[in-house]
């Protein structure tokens, strides 16, 4: 199992690496400029969060990320800016969040599919975002919060997932379980 973590520059990119390591999955952090053919060898990709403002159309610095989505057929998980980018790539609307969230957020799970399997209907997660993505065609919303309607989604046609919150940080409840569920998809 080799997971490549595409680094959008999050403070928590390395926490993703740590979470996966604790789950026995080997992972490597790679820059967005990595050639596409190197990425194709991976078993799964994770797009980290980052300081880029996807909601303001700030996508100049994300290198080959769009090509990774188009050419890699395995499971992909996008976190925060990574989720927003994936949503936007498939025609969703990225915008400054109506209610930006920093720190503790109560998450309501709308649909317990493979990503939230075995988890409660609501739990505490940690978020840190200025932007959000909404109206994502071809994706099903899996969770929301009081201020954000699209906190997690899943593609209807491919194994692509996204979380606006950060399952890799200590203060998110069940964060490790969410990555474990994603790895289960990748190990299939």
């Amino acid at each position: 199992m080799e997971v490549l973590i595409v680094d959008f520059g999050s403070q928590w990119t390395h926490r993703i690496h740590r979470t996966l390591k604790y789950l026995d999955a080997h992972s490597q952090i790679i820059p967005v400029s990595t050639p596409v053919k190197e990425v194709l060898k991976a078993d799964a990709l994770v797009f980290s969060g980052g300081a880029i403002r996807i909601g303001l159309g700030d996508t100049k610095k994300i290198g080959n990320a769009a090509k990774f989505i188009d050419s890699f057929e395995g499971p992909i998980m996008g976190i925060c800016a990574g989720q927003q980018f994936i949503g936007m790539h498939f025609g969703g609307k990225a915008r400054p969040a109506r209610g930006a969230e920093f720190g503790k957020v109560e998450l309501f799970v709308d649909e317990h599919n493979e990503l939230f399997e075995g988890l409660p209907d609501r739990f505490t997660v940690w978020a840190s975002h200025n932007d959000e993505v909404v109206d994502t065609p071809g994706f099903r919303v899996l969770a929301h919060s009081k201020d954000c309607s699209n906190h997690a989604f899943k593609s209807l046609s491919r194994p692509i997932y996204g979380c606006l919150f950060h399952p890799e940080v200590e203060h998110t409840e069940y964060g490790s379980e969410i990555y474990a569920n994603f790895l289960k998809v990748a190990r299939k």
Binding site: D7, H14, D24, F102, W126, V169
Partner: protein
């Protein structure tokens, strides 16, 4: 698989031996768990060819130089203490912006280490840098949150090569390593202290007077919280300290008007320092802290507030 501290010790000692080779290294120690672990690993890997140096910047905790020498002695590491108080205060004079302060401190540390390295023929500098230090220092797409003195605060040109065995670790993992290395508890379980010291607990310009005030305030917070914890009145927070805000407010002391500074008390719950939540300290403990600070530091401080901000959006330290 969760972190395996024994395996890490084996890998890290190999890493240090192969990096330093037959050479000699300075190990910068601050009294915190990270640099203490780095020093203990060096002692294991290269023995007497590692030379531990504690720089007294004038911005350390109360009684720190003595504490560090004693605690590390117990761990089998001898420490040279360098009194560099004057040069740090003079380097910080007139600096208000946190990033400029942090970089000035980083530069001073390196010049102190360089002069010792030259005298002793050391080609390497071993630092207890951990993951949050380089993460928050930023690079490429990653924004600079704060330049840690040991990473983003380093001068561009240095006469020593860096060796940082703990770069991949977070604080909770470093503590596990400290325990398997048998470091004394007062080191392995000690609360974190920022590399630039009290300079980042004084908002704006640092002076000796402000350093003295915040050092005392930090000691009061630590004493009161530890005492309440020992009495079973509260859990011990992950980190707890005071911040000096050189903002004045009006008070009344003994029927006389007072116009003094403000102290913010900060205590947080965390595991790795990358996210944090304000601790729920019992009100009577906060009250006691406020009373002691405003009485014992009455010439300077007449107001105490408690910081409830999580990380994010705040950071743990204020600068």
């Amino acid at each position: 698989m969760p972190f395996d501290p024994n395996r890490f010790v084996a890998e890290a000692t190999d890493f240090i031996s192969s990096t330093v080779g037959k050479g000699k290294a300075i190990v910068g120690v601050s009294g915190g768990v990270d640099s203490s672990v780095a020093a203990a690993l060096c002692a294991k890997a290269i023995g007497k060819r590692a030379h531990a140096v504690f720089v007294d910047t004038g911005l350390m905790r109360k009684g720190e130089a003595q504490f560090v020498s004693l605690a590390l002695k117990k761990a089998g590491v001898g420490v040279e203490v360098v009194d560099a108080r004057k040069r740090f205060f003079s380097a910080l004079r007139g600096l208000h912006e946190p990033e400029r302060k942090r970089k000035a401190i980083g530069k001073e540390f390196i010049s102190v280490f360089e002069s010792i390295a030259k005298k002793r023929g050391c080609k390497f500098l071993v630092q207890g840098t951990i993951a949050p230090d380089w993460i928050e220092s930023g690079s490429g797409l990653r924004d600079t949150i704060k330049s840690h003195h040991n990473v983003g605060g380093l001068p561009k040109k240095m006469g020593m090569r860096l060796c940082e065995p703990l770069r991949e670790l977070y604080k909770d993992e470093v503590r596990q390593v400290a325990r398997v290395l048998g470091l004394p508890k007062e080191l392995s379980e000690r609360q974190p202290f920022p590399g630039p010291g009290l300079a980042v607990r004084i908002m704006g310009e640092v002076t000796e007077e402000k350093a003295e005030v915040v050092r005392e305030a930090c000691a009061i917070v630590e004493e009161e919280i530890c005492a309440s914890w020992r009495q079973g009145k509260m859990g011990l927070p992950w980190q707890y300290f005071a911040v000096l805000l050189p903002i004045k407010s009006v008070g009344v002391l003994g029927d006389r008007r007072a116009y003094g500074w403000t102290v913010a008390v900060r205590a947080v719950e965390s595991v790795d320092g990358m996210t944090a939540k304000a601790s729920r300290i019992p009100p009577e403990v906060l009250e006691r802290i406020s009373e002691r600070i405003t009485r014992e530091l009455k010439e300077h401080v007449n107001r105490v507030v408690y910081d409830m901000t999580s990380k994010p959006p705040g950071t743990i330290e204020w600068e």
